[in-house]
């Protein structure tokens, strides 16, 4: 039995808990966000779209000229793009974690944040999915990764981790879109009832004609539970598959059995940090203090802390195994990782991923949103660096000492990376004001649960 919110939350008073809100207030809070946004919002969207256009222009130029416009080279055949890919897949992961895994564990604090996290998942996969195509030498043939009938009877190589990737990421995208859309059906119905004109039609499409009869809820709850049940192993498998891109290779620094759990933990770590990064400004700008309370951030921060420790453990195990195995190649790679030309990136990564999150042991810092925001930004940077260190730095210290070269990203890669942030944030921004970003039904459900829990607590006290 989970501890009650009050016992679990000794710092702030009960007014911080989303208990006193009425159902109508919940709707009000959420539907308020669906009002036509103001001018500043559209300026923001336009700015993000401009970033996307810049990134797209850089990509078009890259296709036209060849991958030579990037900083890629022998031996760093993969670097920024694949780092971005893994980074965004990682970001995508926490959405499913919050919505599916925590759903299965019946963690009530997830209710207010899960829709935002789930949207982040979908847009994260949107963004991540671009990078394997962007990084191809001949991107117009990317469909060769998929099996399709052809006169040559030639199909993809199902042994290649890249084909696994293709299957895993496209499955993940499909399932997370289904999951997001399914979860949104009752909320879209609420929005439908509250709006008029084309908006009503728009929400009607998303609501599928939902009315909330018990019969509908019966099937809905079942499919939602099963989707959560399917998404849970899926989310674990997707990042495992992503990690196999590296682990299946024999490059020192890549070839490691610890990679799947290590990558999954890292993905959750970075994903939760990104949730915090997005929610703190969103809470402020959209005035969601009543729904998104410190209680939620406290819980998020605790999971960040946990995954940070897991990730730290993985770093230590990796280094230990390199030393303990006695393999000269591994030893060199890990030595060079820390003390080679990219050493500063490694130590910055350690600082961001292992040291700074330790502050979250303090409950005061967990509920200090500005500090939490800064820590979450650090974790984002640290996790991007982690992927870069694993991918590019391992490649730079390969088996042939004569082929060690230093990689430096070019303007093309930087523009496309910035464009990808613009792309992700643009979708998220559009989503947050056009579809219910707070799950009204689940928040209401949560309120019921909380009230019940507090009643029990009071009874016990009496």
């Amino acid at each position: 039995m989970a501890r009650t919110p009050e016992a679990a939350y000794p710092v702030a008073g009960r007014e911080q808990l989303p208990v006193e809100v009425t159902y109508a207030e919940v709707d009000q809070e959420a539907l308020r966000l669906l009002q036509p946004p103001g001018r500043i919002y559209w300026y923001g969207v336009a700015f993000l779209a401009a970033l996307v256009v810049a990134g797209a222009a850089a990509w078009i130029r890259q296709i036209y000229t060849g991958l030579g416009v990037t900083g890629l080279q022998m031996p760093e055949m993969w670097a920024t793009y694949i780092t971005n890919f893994v980074f965004w897949v990682g970001i995508a992961h926490c959405g499913t974690l919050i919505s599916a895994i925590l759903y299965l564990f019946r963690s009530r604090w997830r209710t207010a944040v899960y829709r935002a996290a789930e949207a982040m998942t979908v847009f994260g996969v949107f963004t991540a999915g671009l990078f394997p195509v962007i990084h191809l030498g001949r991107p117009w043939f990317f469909y060769w990764l998929a099996p399709y009938p052809n006169e040559r009877w030639l199909q993809p190589n199902f042994r290649s981790p890249l084909v696994w990737d293709f299957f895993a990421v496209s499955t993940y995208l499909t399932v997370s879109i289904l999951f997001l859309l399914m979860g949104m059906v009752p909320d879209a119905a609420v929005a439908r009832e509250a709006s008029t004109g084309w908006r009503r039609k728009f929400y009607a499409i998303f609501s599928l004609g939902w009315q909330g009869t018990e019969e509908q809820w019966r099937h809905f709850s079942m499919v939602y539970l099963l989707l959560a049940g399917l998404a849970t192993p899926l989310v674990l498998s997707v990042h495992s598959v992503v990690s196999w891109d590296f682990a299946m290779s024999q490059l020192p620094g890549w070839h490691s059995t610890i990679f799947p759990p290590y990558f999954v933990a890292g993905a959750i770590f970075s994903g939760l940090a990104m949730v915090i990064t997005l929610l703190i400004p969103m809470r402020r700008w959209l005035k969601l203090e009543r729904v998104l309370t410190l209680w939620h951030f406290d819980n998020l921060a605790k999971v960040v802390l946990l995954t940070s420790i897991i990730v730290t453990y993985a770093y230590i195990v990796e280094a230990f195994m390199a030393w303990y195995s006695g393999d000269p190649f591994e030893k060199t790679t890990f030595y060079m990782r820390a003390f080679g030309p990219y050493g500063h990136l490694f130590w910055l990564m350690v600082l961001c991923n292992c040291i700074i999150p330790l502050f979250l042991f303090s409950p005061r810092i967990r509920t200090n949103l500005p500090l939490l925001f800064i820590i979450s930004i650090c974790v984002n940077i640290g996790m991007w660096l982690e992927r870069f260190v694993i991918i590019a730095v391992s490649l730079s210290t390969n088996f042939m000492p004569s082929q060690w070269q230093l990689y430096r990203p070019s303007l093309t890669e930087i523009t496309i990376t910035v464009g990808s942030f613009g792309w992700f944030l643009m979708w998220f921004t559009l989503f947050s004001r056009h579809l219910p970003v707070i799950s009204m039904t689940e928040v209401k459900e949560g309120v019921v649960w909380l009230k019940k829990a507090i009643r029990q607590e009071q009874a016990k006290a009496a």
Partner: protein
């Protein structure tokens, strides 16, 4: 709503047609090829039973089958000159003011550059020319009969138990 759907559909159709029109398919045979002189394979190979390799003489020893040199034309037509047989041969350079004696044949069959096809092993394996080129001896103007794509090659290789290893043709 309906208008939007129609607009999207129109854009999609135009895009698809445009892509198909612009994209090159070098392996596709070109049925519309017209040659500079009205040479008839039907008359030569069909009516007069001149073997293919009499003119395409390199086929049995070289990757390229070879286009017959003008000398080969004159060889027969010259001896039949009194019967007026020379006129059709000399027409291209009496009609045009272009470079004399050069016949710029238009290609009918083209393979992409990454396909290494060699005629001679096929000739030695007893593959009839018609297997790929169709009944040329019945055609006045050669038009392609088969779309020579990788499936076409593979089918035959599989049937005849020839190698289907990729490097057989691609290197």
């Amino acid at each position: 709503m309906r208008r939007t759907i129609i607009a999207i559909a129109v854009v999609l159709v135009v895009g698809a047609v445009g892509t198909a029109a612009v994209s090159q398919k070098p392996w596709l045979p070109r049925p519309d090829v017209v040659q500079p002189i009205p040479f008839s394979h039907r008359i030569h190979a069909g009516l007069h039973h001149i073997p293919c390799q009499y003119c395409h003489e390199y086929a049995r020893r070289s990757p390229t089958s070879g286009v017959p040199p003008v000398q080969r034309c004159i060889g027969c037509h010259g001896t039949l000159a009194q019967k007026g047989a020379l006129t059709p041969v000399t027409r291209p350079w009496t009609d045009h003011k272009g470079a004399p004696l050069e016949i710029r044949w238009n290609r009918v069959y083209t393979l992409p550059d990454f396909v290494r096809f060699a005629h001679f092993p096929h000739i030695h394996a007893g593959i009839a020319c018609q297997s790929c080129h169709g009944p040329v001896e019945t055609m006045d103007r050669v038009v392609p009969v088969y779309e020579i794509n990788m499936g076409f090659c593979l089918n035959c290789h599989a049937q005849k138990r020839a190698s289907t290893d990729c490097v057989t043709c691609h290197y």
